[in-house]
Symmetry: C2
Subunit: 359 residues, 2 copies
């Protein structure tokens, strides 16, 4: 068995050690005599896993004690609607449109209120993130909404886009890739399938303000109600038990190294690729320099005819998942937490060779 | 490693062969060089799995060609709301209240229309299912809603509760346990975690009428819209990829044996336990005889003080998960498809010994 160098944007590469830990528990979870997928979500054995996952997430992200963590289903896409129904509640919020995922969220917010868009990067194919203070804020906005990292376009905010006020944040593609100011956020949400685990688990973190506001929402079906899930400790209904197990193990893997160490390695991995992209006009990085992501590195080739050739030759060199999203074209390398240094080195070597033979 | 006899109501026991197939694909899915949890849901390798799962489900359940299959997230609990928002749409439907799960669904329907309840088994702790024609139907009801099998109370409909009209059905706890008349149903839905796989995947099957009606729903967030999911072939957003893989393998395991063979074994397993329950007054079966389930067998003991003793002594005999739900008390054995004959034999032997020593 040869594992390819996997640069998929998500679901994405996971630590091999976590995969092995999963395999070891599938027949018999922690000596319970019941397999991981077969154990009741109400059992003590599983409850211990949920509690550990929540505690680890709190430590890794520095979540304040008075914020609450939920593990839900439905991905970020369901959060787009839940946030609007539970928090926006007919009001108006400022949505920074920095890519396809914010555009989707803006659309869902329209079912439950007004998504005001004071900034949109659409006209320049979302190359550039807005500088803080570069747009006019609505002083009566319920919250400011942003997406920390934009997988398709390869941009990433360095920090919160506004210095104050209520903040709602889609952190799907860079959660637990670096230290954050969790206390500054009222809602943080993320699908797990990039940095935290397999698909089918969604992390949601709510501030006291967000919880209080959600408690005033009316006509919310139980499954869409933060209040209902909070009241049941994420066990209102049967959660994705295997997904939560893997999430807990991935968080342990991050904790064992330390968040800062993981973040530094992410920075270094991305920089190796950016160094190639900046080395000659053969390469055309997509994201503006001050908006570059450490998670998803996007580029075109000066000779666009060579782009599909590069994807094909990459596959022959065991480099998988570098075809860019159809809305940008070109190429993309996703280098999440679990992407090994060796994979980045293989990609960088391949890029050098490709330029030498085709440039 | 000793695997216990697992009678959990869900998540529930899975075929050991499927667990082994899962383990074999976690590092390298079908020779792709990418692990199962790490592969893009847009890849050909994963698309083949989704298509195979859908085709197998169609064959196992006899789903007509003009019905559509979806694999979603959120469990039956999210379907309670989605059905009402997409199909009820402000109208009134007849909901047969045969247990806790129908009661939850009735509550969710109230957000989007009227759930009329022409029958409720609540007053006799849901022992008895209604006989066909025993309640008054609303001729203008948008649909009749029922739950085929009630895990908590151990009751199961032998077939559809009405001979005609639009039918919406929660099949979470007995889907693919026996042959059904899929063509007679407009909506069939089921969480996977009892007969079909791990938690975190929901099966939904829609008739042409249901799809047409859902297409007229307005102000439905994308993730809650059957139309949106249908338009994207269940890949509107990232699905629970590992869950769908396991579902496909469980369906293959059912197909290899044949649905009728599996159903006959389920019948025989349940009967062995009912035979004990009917053999003396030591046992007090909960469900009325004509309403008994082949999936969940529920009982009390004449001496209720012995109930916790039986649970404890069961654990010592490697018999797990027989504590009854708190709303009924007593004991419950869930004998889904993958519950081996050997486990039922062990339980029956234990029950005989328990009566001999304690009766």
């Amino acid at each position: 068995m040869t594992r390819k160098h996997n640069f998929s944007a998500g679901p994405a590469v996971l630590p091999v050690s976590v995969i092995e830990e999963l395999k070891a528990q599938l027949n018999d979870l922690h000596g319970s005599g019941i397999g991981l997928m077969e154990i009741s979500h109400r059992s003590q054995t599983f409850d211990d896993i949920v509690r550990s996952a929540m505690a680890r997430l709190r430590r890794v992200l520095g979540v304040p004690d008075d914020h609450q963590v939920l593990f839900l289903q439905g991905g970020a896409s369901l959060q787009f609607a839940m946030i609007a129904q539970n928090i926006l509640q007919g009001g108006s919020a400022d949505y920074l449109d920095t890519g396809a995922w914010t555009a989707k969220s803006i659309k869902q917010a329209g079912h439950f209120g007004t998504a005001r868009v004071p900034f949109s990067g659409k006209s320049d194919t979302y190359r550039q993130l807005p500088a803080s203070g570069s747009w006019e804020r609505d002083p009566s906005a319920v919250y400011t909404y942003y997406c920390t990292n934009n997988t398709i376009f390869g941009t990433q905010f360095a920090g919160a886009p506004v210095p104050d006020g209520r903040l709602v944040c889609d952190m799907s593609s860079d959660i637990a890739s670096r230290s954050i100011d969790a206390a500054a956020h009222d809602v943080i949400f993320a699908g797990a399938q990039k940095n935290l685990g397999p698909s089918g688990v969604t992390v949601v973190i709510l501030s006291p303000w967000a919880m209080a506001r959600a408690a005033t929402a009316t006509q919310v079906p139980d499954m869409l109600s933060y209040g209902v899930h909070l009241g049941k400790g994420s066990l209102f209904n049967t959660p994705n038990t295997l997904g939560i197990f893997v999430l807990e193990r991935v968080l342990a893997w991050i904790e064992d190294q330390g968040m800062d160490t993981v973040a530094a390695r992410n920075r270094a991995k991305a920089q190796k690729i950016y160094d190639v992209l900046d080395s000659s006009d053969f390469w055309q990085p997509h994201a503006a320099r001050d908006s570059r992501s450490d998670m998803n590195i996007t580029w075109r080739l000066a000779d666009s005819d060579l782009e599909p050739v590069m994807v094909q030759e990459g596959l022959a060199a065991d480099i998988s998942g570098i075809k860019g999203h159809r809305s940008v074209g070109g190429l993309r390398a996703s280098t999440y937490n679990a992407c090994p240094d060796a994979s980045v080195d293989a990609l960088v070597g391949f890029m050098g060779e490709f330029e030498r033979t085709r440039g």
